[in-house]
Symmetry: C2
Subunit: 420 residues, 2 copies
């Protein structure tokens, strides 16, 4: 006898049993509904990408270091996508002349990172990417922030449970330039800023002084309205006022928000959980106006964000907002008094299905009592026994499993009675 | 200036632009609706699997040879799943004590094969896997075949456009045993049988004689009812009669159907396109009662099938049955007379969205005429201009883009007018 195979999945990835998959899809359904209501279209691509796509200057170093990259049998270097934006830029660049701009696009799918598995960090996770491509800052930025807010509302999140922290890369780079930071120092500074919340004020100041004499954040704070920095700062503050006027009241200016990726050029933002036990960034995004130029096509302005499923589910769970889903979506469990009744029950089930009722038919030799227990275990709301007697009598007994109430219903009226 | 990056996807995989993704999802929606109507639950898993899962005797050799397998940085051998059944068996074995049997499960997702790309063969393709686990032959086999037929009906396929070719591995192995074929010769014989349709009768006979003196197919044809072969044959014929009695009239007995995978133990079937220009197997499946025993758990009987998206889409296209989908699912294009009207239009759009209308708002400086052209290009059915004038007047002009008809509608009645 050979050694049995392990039933474990590959390290750091998950199996989605029906209840878990239904829950994840329940969240995505709400997000998808919001996006479709705003006229967004879903796209997708293979997780297999040419490795060079990530070797370009699109991604944070750490992402490039954490890719699954291997060589195929044709000596091509292949990467399992760690994020969607480079793929999106590639697809848009490939058809930039035929696609009607602006593009309102989203994608929901898995991404891969070769990380040490730990809470909230998996080697495969799902993400929703939302992008508005072909429009400069202004109305497009407003729409993207309104959509982030609309998704939260659709998921039942009250406005005081989260805050949108807004900043601007244009503002930061202007301040860095005025402070005299060269390109590479600027990038180091942004990385430092990203860690600011986790540092003491003293250690931040020390690290900042090692990079430049003047702190760009101080320049931002004290900027005069007519200066280059002041003009960029005023744009951010005006955006916050506009959003307030359109019902998004929880946006705050936060100069420490930078986002990891190098490709951002305009606004950057983070949606932040305000709960005191667990304050943290849940998801975010920003404007990136130069990405498609990597492919030699004209530069296309773009703004978007991505919602990682792990952090977002955790947030909804903490706030008791996970959507109610069950693994079986059947409306009724059709029991069979005897095994001989199964063909009759299947035919009857077919007439119900044609009327839009989802039917789970018993195919076992269990007693009716055990079939009812099975229906309860599966979370199916109604139980109906059907066999030759019911067929002859033209009536069935419908059991509501939550209340154990029973009612006699004519066969012809059953689908109306069961309709969810 | 650096060399621009190529916009091509990785070799043998596809980019799904919104129109293509909508079409694929349109097909999956019909299949999903059918499965949910039969009480089936959706599951999923990561495409990353431990390589040993495919090195077990679950798969046809050719599948094992065509996997994407690589070694991760922790020296684990990883395979991108070429098929779903080994993953399903692993997941079920892992929780065999807690899952309520029978399981009616399905999964829709991508699979990977390292093949030379050619028509109908891609390195990444989507597949629907449907399985009924925990029940022996009989009602379970009937249900699976009825579902295959129900999916075709839901997709609008007339019964004469396809045929279900049914056979039995139990019948074939019994006949092989009586013909005196040992285990390895039997496997060779099944492989030969799989190719029978593409061979001349002479070359098939010659190859068959090289394996055994007696042709198992001749034994099946001439079997007496009470013999071992006759009993297995009678089961297949009885199943065909039962299906006929339940509205599935296009099932035929075909002793040459074997299916590729080694793990089948009972019925095997193929859904076959009957069109004269392009007769071919579209999808198929069968009973596999021993797969979970690889994991050291009790053997669980199972029956199922898989629908590959590429062949199935081709079939629907040939028959003019691809579902009508469009990339934009917006119900209305909200045009703006001037750019200043955009914030007003977005607020108005929000009230429509709250009433279930999907709204695409213009954010560009285009003229209304160009906005109408844009709406037509995107396939959005209605166009409504909205600005300060409409806000003040309380009425909008709704343009039906297919007919160019126009009607004046009070703002409060618009969502009712647009509802799809």
């Amino acid at each position: 006898m050979e050694q049995p195979l392990s039933t474990d999945p590959y390290k750091g990835v998950r199996d989605f049993y029906p209840a878990e998959w239904a829950q994840l899809q329940g969240i995505f359904t709400k997000i998808r509904q919001t996006l479709v209501a705003w006229g967004y279209e879903e796209y997708n691509a293979s997780p297999l990408e040419r490795a060079e796509l990530y070797e370009a200057k699109t991604s944070e170093e750490i992402v490039r270091e954490q890719t699954y990259t291997f060589t195929d049998r044709g000596d091509r270097r292949v990467t399992l996508r760690p994020e969607m934006t480079p793929t999106l830029a590639r697809m848009v660049a490939a058809k930039s002349r035929e696609l009607p701009l602006p593009l309102r696009w989203f994608s929901i799918g898995n991404r891969f990172r070769y990380e040490r598995p730990q809470k909230g960090r998996l080697r495969e996770f799902y993400q929703v990417d939302v992008d508005l491509i072909g429009l400069a800052e202004g109305e497009a930025d407003i729409e993207i922030l309104r959509i982030a807010s609309a998704i939260m509302r659709e998921c039942g999140v009250p406005e005081n449970a989260f805050r949108i922290r807004l900043n601007s890369r244009a503002l930061l780079t202007t301040a860095c330039r005025v402070a005299g930071l060269a390109e590479d120092r600027m990038r180091e500074y942004l990385r430092l800023l990203d860690k600011k919340a986790k540092m003491t004020p003293e250690s931040f100041s020390e690290a900042q002084r090692a990079l430049s004499q003047t702190d760009p954040l101080v320049l931002i704070e004290s900027a005069e309205e007519t200066s280059d920095i002041g003009i960029e700062k005023a744009k951010v503050l005006a955006l916050i006022e506009t959003l307030k006027a359109h019902g998004v009241g929880n946006v705050v200016f936060d100069t420490s928000v930078t986002r990891g990726f190098d490709y951002y050029t305009g606004i950057v933002f983070e949606v932040f959980d305000t709960s005191s036990e667990n304050p943290r960034a849940m998801f975010g995004g920003g404007r990136y106006d130069n990405l498609s130029s990597l492919f030699g096509s004209d530069s296309l302005p773009a703004v978007g964000f991505g919602i990682g499923e792990v952090t977002f589910s955790d947030f909804l769970e903490t706030h008791g907002l996970l959507p109610n889903t069950r693994s079986s979506s059947a409306d009724v469990y059709l029991g069979t008094p005897t095994q001989k009744d199964i063909p009759l029950a299947q035919d009857f089930a077919d007439t119900l299905r044609a009327e839009g009722i989802r039917v789970f038919v018993n195919l076992t030799s269990r007693t009716l009592g055990d079939q009812i227990k099975d229906a309860v275990k599966r979370g199916i709301p109604f139980f109906v026994a059907y066999g030759s007697q019911e067929q002859a009598g033209g009536e069935v007994r419908v059991k509501t499993l939550s209340s154990e109430e029973e009612s006699l219903v004519p066969v012809a009226a059953l689908s109306k009675h069961l309709r969810p």
